[in-house]
């Protein structure tokens, strides 16, 4: 569950408020869409909701942003990662580039947490299963298509078992076919009780998966 309470944000070194005071509530299992022409505005809302702003990238936050009842500013990066995953529009920059197989790439998150090997394997397998990407497990992450890459990155996020997910234009660089793959994964996720905030310009996609849409 994500709650924004009159949250306003400005980037580091900037005087203008990139996000004007905004209030928003995302309930468990709900898929809420964010539409509008302002690309930067949508991205800002996404990273504020996920806590990356200000925790990782700095800047100033006014008002409150709560994820599952905890204020984002009180959490460290890895704690935020376990509560809220974030998927961006550019597939390739989200791959770590460190691993030879998709399986290891997805296991990256749980390994970072130092979880026992057994649990790492379990989480990796279930994450791949959730996005229907088990068949990619042995492939090299650098040799995948854009859509497959997005699924792999999504699996990597889900391996941390966040209860919330923020997606910033996840299909903008994908063709319609691949977009469907991602859309299906989102719908399945919502079914498991994960709250999803989806920023998209693709009206069709928004209509398909979202219960309600906010206009920015």
């Amino acid at each position: 569950m994500i709650v924004l309470d009159e949250a306003a944000y400005r980037y580091p070194g900037s005087s203008a408020w990139a996000l004007p005071p905004t209030s928003l509530e995302l309930r468990p299992g709900e898929v809420v869409g964010v539409s509008g022409a302002n690309e930067r505005g949508k991205t800002t809302l996404c990273i504020v909701a996920a806590g990356l702003a200000p925790v990782t990238i700095g800047g100033e936050l006014r008002g409150r942003v709560l994820i599952d009842g905890r204020r984002t500013v009180e959490l460290a990066g890895h704690e935020l990662a376990q509560r809220c995953g974030v998927l961006f529009d550019n597939p390739s920059v989200q791959l770590t580039g460190l691993h030879r197989t998709v399986y290891e790439e997805v296991a990256f998150g749980p390994c970072n947490l130092g979880l026992p090997a057994g649990e790492v394997h379990q989480r990796t397998r279930s994450a791949l299963d959730l996005v229907a990407a088990e068949h990619l497990a042995g492939r090299h992450p650098g040799h995948l298509s854009g859509g497959e890459t997005q699924l792999v990155v999504l699996a990597g996020l889900l391996a941390l078992r966040p209860a919330n997910l923020v997606l910033d234009e996840p299909t903008s660089r994908l063709d319609p076919e691949r977009s469907l793959l991602v859309a299906d994964a989102i719908a399945r996720l919502a079914g498991t009780g994960v709250s999803v905030l989806l920023a998209e310009h693709d009206e069709e996609l928004l209509a398909r998966v979202c219960r309600r849409v906010i206009e920015l």
Binding site: I57, Q82, V86, V93, T96, L98, N112, L113, L115, L157
Partner: protein, 218 residues
């Protein structure tokens, strides 16, 4: 690595020995071609050095100096090249981490290796753009410089912008978590390899110490 260090310190016959040992190891590992290419890469330097030092021996240079320097270089380059030619980078990195290198060092090394081909491709695009304008053969040096700089700047700016995205992508994968990472692959480490490691380390220390003593005495 011991071989490389000892070659640099001692030069001369030690370097030759190291080079030969490395070549033999390379033959066994089937990597002799890679070693040969590396050695060939040194050829221009070798030729240049021998030529200049042979013809103009004044003030500290001379054929002997040139040959000594070359042997040192060869002895240093070949073993290191072999090391990376026979060991896959990911395995090497896992091994490093298992021995306590820390996730940050491992990340920097691994990410750098992955980033080089990407950056190389972008740089080649810049060159192609220059070529399309015919600037690589015809233009004066000033035009070449002026043509290239506006192409290089976006390359650098793009790199910096990429850093922001990648930083967020890493944080979201809990990279900043404290404590030791779980390692899924433990590279095999036999008793024989352990003994060999200790022996080489001892050899390194003794070799360097002996060299220091030799220099001090003189």
């Amino acid at each position: 690595m011991t071989g490389a260090a000892l070659s640099l310190a001692w030069g001369g016959w030690v370097a030759v020995g190291v080079a030969l040992l490395t070549a033999l190891a390379a033959l066994r590992a089937g990597r002799i071609r890679r070693l040969a290419v590396a050695a060939l890469a040194l050829a221009p330097v070798a030729a240049s050095s021998l030529l200049i030092n042979a013809l103009l021996p004044a003030g500290g240079g001379g054929l002997t100096t040139a040959v000594a320097a070359l042997l040192r270089l060869l002895g240093a380059t070949l073993p290191l090249t072999l090391l990376f030619a026979t060991t896959e980078a990911p395995d090497l990195l896992s091994d490093l981490e298992a021995r306590g290198a820390g996730r940050r060092a491992v990340f920097v090394l691994g990410a750098a290796l992955a980033a080089v081909p990407r950056a190389q491709a972008r740089a080649v695009d810049v060159i192609e753009a220059q070529r399309a304008r015919g600037l690589d053969t015809e233009g004066s040096w000033r035009r070449r410089l002026h043509g290239m700089l506006p192409l290089i700047t976006p390359l650098i700016i793009g790199s910096l912008a990429e850093v922001e995205d990648r930083t967020m992508a890493l944080e979201v994968r809990a990279f900043g978590a404290p404590g030791r990472r779980t390692l899924l692959h433990q590279p095999p480490d036999s008793r024989g390899q352990q003994v060999a490691r200790w022996a080489t380390a001892a050899l390194l220390v003794l070799g360097l110490a002996a060299r220091a003593v030799a220099v001090a005495i003189r």
